[in-house]
């Protein structure tokens, strides 16, 4: 055993790395029970003044049975959720290459701004005179979004990308119905996000797929030959989900318009072109912008997002209420009441209030920080980083569209060349052991065993080089048939989880052991 001069061992020898501990913890990797296993009905972490025994106006509907909630004191609560947090991967910990999700750094200035009481502690139904600054903030963000996209107007109220898609399709349907031309079909490329066909169906349309070319683009011939009097429009993602720009976008828009349809663009990948291309110049009629992607509002483990929708002139009259308008020096909120006068064709309200204010403040803070020059640089660096990943790895990972030219903000690989028995999921789980969140797996569906890598612009070259090294190492193991990958991850808080069991016997809420046993 090697010792230092004081006789203290400096290097462990023959350490048992897999030894079980009494607690189940492994050093800083801490196991944490469920809230309902450690809290109880009589513990609380909040002190209240005494309510005093006044009269009840509850109409005899007082709760007389236990709710079943568990409480913890503040120190226990802080520890419980801090411990849980440490079982998550996050952008703050490292590169998060989830394709199509744009996991970029979330500037903390944005968090600070969103928490200013003048934004965070105001009520959506306050009189207009008391919230002029809030209306102005929404209006300023709207102006930026219109300028950056070259479009005519923007609906700010949609709550997330899919809600924005719905907003766009409802405007399209309203515009078509207004000209007495109800149509039934929306065309969606087979590489589209699942939200596209789901949204079209939710809006009452029938969905038909459009095939992709071998170069990973929309098949223009197949599209144009399907256009006709029953086609309301198309939903195209551009840059598309293969990480490629649709070079025929202007021709696609023209063909759709000539056939009497309208063009929806899924703006999930706007980060690749912000400041370099305005969707308005591509002939599109509606596009949602995920503020939680391009404009860096945090993903928060699955939301909240925000999905403002920019519109062409043709669709503007049909945009949803409410929205903020500048009238002279004053900002007003156009709602049901006033919409009738000069916005009578609005398709109506999509959500209770005016949108994701907390996301608007963060997005505007991000936009002002970058400015016109910085946003253009964002797109350039995002695209450069993705191409750097693509070209640095195409010798070990098959890049199905690598030969057709540069990619945009994300690099797409397939599982071709992996040894038999190993697939994309094994590589992904191997990457977890290397300390990374995996890329998007098995999407888009047009590529076998797809791996979609989006590094974003907030990664340094050193961070990219390390990631490329890690991915190269795992890819080489997959090619060589290293069966140990099938057991990965081994260094994460959990080994692979049994998703089949979870779906076959769903346990969606906690049941106390007695109750669970009784239910068996």
């Amino acid at each position: 055993m090697s010792m230092n001069r004081e006789g203290r061992p400096t290097r462990p020898e023959g350490a048992e790395t897999s030894r079980e501990t009494w607690t189940g913890n492994r050093g800083l990797m801490l196991e944490e029970p469920l809230l309902f296993e450690i809290g109880d009905a009589t513990t609380t972490g909040v002190d209240f003044e005494n309510a005093g025994g006044g009269t009840s106006r509850l109409g005899g509907l007082e709760r007389n049975r236990p709710i079943g909630l568990a409480g913890l004191t503040e120190p226990e609560t802080v520890r419980h959720y801090t411990r849980l947090s440490r079982q998550n991967y996050a952008i703050d910990l490292g590169l998060f290459p989830l394709g199509s999700c744009t996991m970029k750094h979330n500037p903390r200035l944005n968090e600070k701004v969103a928490r200013m009481p003048g934004f965070a502690d105001i009520h959506p139904l306050q009189p207009a005179d008391t919230v002029q600054g809030a209306y102005e903030l929404i209006h300023r963000l709207a102006e930026w979004l219109i300028a950056l996209t070259g479009m005519h107007s923007v609906a700010m109220s949609p709550k997330a990308g899919a809600h924005g898609e719905l907003c766009g399709l409802l405007a399209i349907r309203s515009a078509l119905e207004a000209r007495g031309d109800a149509r039934e079909v929306i065309l969606v490329p087979e590489s589209a996000h699942g939200t596209n066909p789901a949204t079209a169906a939710f809006a009452g349309y029938r969905v038909e797929n459009i095939p992709a070319t071998t170069a990973g683009r929309v098949d223009l011939d197949a599209l144009t030959s399907r256009l006709g009097p029953d086609v309301a429009g198309v939903m195209i993602t551009n840059p598309n989900t293969c990480g490629l720009f649709e070079p025929e976008m202007i021709a696609i828009s023209k063909a759709v318009h000539e056939a009497g349809g309208l063009v929806y663009c899924d703006g999930a990948n706007f980060n690749a072109i912000v400041g370099r291309v305005r969707p308005g110049d591509l002939g599109i009629d509606a596009m949602h912008i995920n503020l939680h992607k391009t404009f860096s509002t945090p993903h928060g483990g699955g939301g909240p997002g925000a999905g403002p929708v920019v519109f062409s002139e043709a669709l503007t009259p049909f945009a949803p209420i409410p929205f903020v308008e500048k009238q002279g020096k004053e900002f007003v909120l156009v709602e049901e009441e006033t919409a009738g006068e000069h916005h009578g064709r609005s398709f109506g309200r999509m959500t209770a209030f005016h949108g994701q204010m907390g996301m608007f403040t963060r997005a505007l803070s991000y936009i002002l920080s970058h400015g016109a020059d910085g946003l253009r640089q964002v797109a350039e660096d995002a695209v450069l980083n993705a191409n750097y990943v693509l070209r640095s790895l195409e010798d070990v990972l098959d890049a199905p569209f690598g030969a057709s030219g540069p990619c945009m903000h994300e690099a797409l690989f397939s599982d071709k060349g992996f040894a038999g028995g190993l697939s994309t999921i094994d590589l992904a789980k191997g990457l977890i052991d290397e300390g990374y969140h995996p890329m998007t797996m098995y999407f888009p569906l047009v590529v076998h065993g797809a791996m979609l890598v989006e590094p974003t612009e907030t990664e340094s070259k050193a961070a990219l080089d390390q990631f490329i090294g890690a991915l190269r190492s795992v890819a080489e193991r997959a090619r060589a048939g290293d069966e140990t990958l099938k057991a990965a991850p081994v260094f994460a808080p959990r080994r692979r989880l049994d998703e089949t069991l979870a779906a076959r016997k769903p346990i969606l809420v906690y049941k106390e052991p007695e109750a669970a046993q009784a239910a068996e």
């Binding site: 007082e62 600054g133 169906a201």
Partner: protein
């Protein structure tokens, strides 16, 4: 630019690796006509952190902050005190900057918290299962109507007049496109709700009732639940103020089939209308018809308990146009805030909070009913009630605001077309209102009515 780590030297080196002469070569697929060859004109360049903070701080300061004045607005968004540790914990980077937990081995933090959230929501609502959140109460309400249509294969939904008019408005917008038939009328200013008069027939898919309703009234849902069951329709209860359920029976307990609502009161804050968090719960037998994500318990390869997203064959990324909903991103971080605040409260704290809200509201209602010309509409209420003023409430609210009192939501604001409601004022009183605040409201009301 402080957020962009690449240096010009890095960029040149990387362009070489990529085999491109310049960055423009990477944008070759963009049609010539759509290429911007420089910055977009008329927009400012990047700004320092200090400068941005100044610009946005100026906008923030021009708003009247709820916490700075006597404040009594509700109607779907409520001001409650949120313990400081809630905001601290949700700002842990591991929660704030993580993604939807698609890789469960490194997302147990989010998944376990969602499982706790689902359990809390289900128990609060008196239901068997709950999902991992929706955007907000209003969109959750429409999704519940769609779900009821799927289950009953009927297309007529009856909305009680006590439903929040914005929620009804969202449903009306959507129904126009989906072909669902809705019946809805604005409420009348009376102590009794319409719920026992609702006509449920064999074509009805669901009845939607808000509890407590938009005017603050509380009605027993038991009779309506039985009526719905007899007609083969589902009862959907909408709860905009979850704190109420610390004091009154849950809708699930009274027989509601689907319970949805707004969770903003717990942990989230006012935020001028968003982001909020939609809650969605139902019976176990309907779980495969539910929209949205679900966290479920399972085991890992070593047999250790863990959590995953489950039953995703309902969802858009698998089922595409056949999915139960198009929702993808939900309100994850707001759901976490809800869960942490609810953990701090616990059963004991929630009950104490509810009791305090009710006591303050009762005291305020009694005081305000003594203002000359003012009467109280409600027999029953929790922390929100409706006053009938001797004149239009909307200008009165504006006039009170000029005197630094945010005195409630006028029904004129919510129902601009309903002249009979114009004198109604909905006042919400939470634990944040002090006795002085209540007195200030009474005085302000006296002033503007004089």
């Amino acid at each position: 630019m402080r957020y962009l780590p690449l240096s010009n030297a890095d960029r040149s080196e990387m362009l070489q690796v990529v085999g491109a002469g310049s960055i423009d070569d990477l944008f070759v697929d963009v049609p010539e006509a759509a290429r911007l060859n420089g910055k977009i004109e008329g927009l400012p360049d990047h700004a320092s952190e200090l400068d941005v903070e100044r610009q946005l701080g100026a906008l923030a300061r021009s708003n009247m902050v709820a916490g700075d004045v006597p404040f009594f607005l509700g109607c779907g968004a409520y001001r409650h005190h949120i313990p400081a540790s809630v905001d601290h914990l949700i700002q842990r980077g591991e929660f704030l900057t993580s993604y939807t937990p698609y890789q469960p081995e490194i997302a147990q933090g989010t998944l376990q918290a969602l499982f706790e959230f689902q359990t809390q929501v289900a128990r609060l609502y008196g239901c068997e299962v709950a999902n991992a959140s929706m955007y907000d109460g209003s969109t959750a309400c429409w999704e519940a109507i769609v779900m009821a249509r799927r289950i009953t294969r009927r297309g007529k939904a009856i909305l009680s007049s006590g439903l929040h008019p914005h929620y009804a408005s969202v449903a009306k917008t959507m129904a126009r496109f989906t072909g669902d038939v809705l019946s809805y009328e604005a409420p009348t200013l009376s102590a009794a709700t319409d719920i026992d008069a609702l006509d449920v027939d064999g074509d009805t898919s669901c009845v939607v009732v808000q509890y407590p309703d938009i005017l603050g009234r509380i009605a027993d849902l038991g009779g309506l639940a039985a009526k719905c069951q007899a007609a083969g329709a589902l009862l959907i209860a909408v709860v905009t103020e979850p704190v109420a359920l610390g004091a009154i029976k849950s809708p699930g307990e009274m027989g509601a089939d689907i319970v949805v609502g707004e969770g903003q009161s717990i942990g989230v804050g006012l935020n001028f209308g968003g982001p909020y968090v939609g809650l969605f719960a139902t019976r176990e037998k309907y779980v495969r018809q539910m929209p949205g994500r679900l966290a479920g318990e399972t085991v890992d390869a070593e047999g250790k308990r863990g959590f995953v997203l489950t039953l995703s064959t309902r969802e858009q990324h698998i089922r595409r146009e056949k999915a139960t909903s198009n929702i993808c991103t939900n309100s994850g971080l707001c759901a976490l805030a809800f869960t942490i605040h609810m953990t701090l409260l616990g059963e004991k704290g929630l009950r104490a909070l509810a009791e305090l809200n009710h006591a303050k509201a009762v005291a305020a209602a009694e005081r305000l009913a003594r203002v000359p010309g003012v009467s109280l509409i409600n027999d029953t209420f929790f922390n929100e009630f409706t006053l009938l003023l001797p004149k239009e409430a909307r200008p009165a609210v504006r006039a009170m605001a000029e005197h630094g009192v945010l005195g409630g939501v006028s029904l004129g604001r919510l129902y601009p077309d309903e002249a009979e409601l114009a004198n109604g004022l909905v006042v919400a009183v939470t634990e944040t209102a002090s006795d002085d605040d209540i007195e200030a409201l009474a005085k302000a009301l006296e002033g503007v009515l004089a």
